[in-house]
């Protein structure tokens, strides 16, 4: 499945993000960020289906919860940064 990762500054922030998305009907799961995308070391991200990313970002914008970074998993298994 192709998915997007919403990288969060902290675990608590990721939990707030996932809670907002969940209330908005978007399935969101918290994971530790893959080391390959984890620039500062040890962070958490929220995984959402790629086709729900736009809706997710809209919800987060309304809730005042901007993501630190957003990445998409591409067909070749690499992460591509989404310019916000």
């Amino acid at each position: 499945m192709l998915y997007s990762l919403i990288v969060c500054r902290s675990l608590t922030y990721a939990q707030r993000t996932a809670a907002v998305l969940g209330r908005g009907g978007i399935t969101a799961t918290i994971f530790r960020s893959p080391r390959a995308i984890d620039q500062e070391g040890c962070s958490y991200c929220v995984r959402v289906a790629r086709q729900r990313l736009t809706d997710a970002l809209l919800l987060l914008g309304r809730a005042g919860l901007p993501p630190k970074r957003v990445l998409m998993l591409t067909q070749d298994g690499l992460y591509q940064e989404v310019v916000l």
């Binding site: 902290s10 608590t12 707030r16 040890c42």
Partner: protein, 379 residues
Amino acid sequence: MIYFDSAATTLQKPPEVVRASVYAMTHMASPGRGGHRPAMLAAETAFSCRQAAARLFHVEDPEQVVFTFNATHALNIAIKSLVSPGDTVLISGYEHNAVTRPLHALGATVRVFTGPLFDQEALLRSFEEQLDSQVRAVICTHVSNVFGYVLPVEEIAARCRAQGVPLILDASQSAGCLPVDVQALDASFVAMPGHKGLYGPQGTGLLLCRSDTKTLLEGGTGSASARQEMPDFLPDRLEAGTHNIPGVAGLLAGIRYVQREGSAQILRRERRLVQLTARGLSRIPGVTVYAAQDPTLQAGVLSFRTNGADCEEIGERLGRRGIAVRAGLHCAPLAHQSADTFQTGTVRVSFSGLNTPGEVEKFVRELKPILSSFSAPGK
């Protein structure tokens, strides 16, 4: 055992608090330290606790809810975030050493606003006289840990807001029984224990943050680990090291208990016990009871002293009869100076919502022969 020392720690916990702590010890690891199930379960519990506290105390978002080891820890962070050496700080005359000792250690210039016990108007007059442009911060307890005196914190907060002076509220004796609305007060920080009126385990506390913070401890946070500076975001900035997750799980169960019972209902029960105790004690010759005429000025704490009997000895003898009270200065010498009880100290009885009128009756019954023995010849 009759336990009347809840101003120090509530001993009788709702059974779900114990269950939650035991479950956490056997099923949960450290939040922010892994993606495995025990770590994520701990993370969910911590987040639920932050959410529950944010709802109860009207905090804008759960990231502003910081776990501490106790209220003293929380107050130290708050004070050291706002106060620098030499700053002028205005504090009430009913503060605990958890406030006065950090200020002393910092070398702050401390002004005290005070007034007679249960006289809110005099206290406010003293506050207004001393609140000027030199004051860097105001620190006020919501309820005196010695006398149960409810301080007029709403009025104090309004005056701080008007003058733009940050307020630190010590909610050690009010959290769980009196309304504490962080946004309405516009307090910079509110500090509280988890193990008193919130019925959590010892080793838990909360700092509700609405101002920039300085770290008290530095270390691992499970975030931004490649950097040597502490994170600049809450709660990670103030939560270095492994969390007390069994404590947090128990605290969550305690907060849910308070929400289910209702703070107002708990306060009603405690006030009824205070009034019963005051009535019973006032009938004993030689006993001075510190009870407010207006019951809304007192929460579930009451002090008394007697002619001719040392308060510590009364506490000791009650303890031998299976009644737990606290005697002495209660780590609040300033409060005793304000109430003119510093030389003798007091015996303090303090209730939780789980105490009963029958316990109060037994306490008064047991106290009478103890006091008589002091007045008997040769004793």
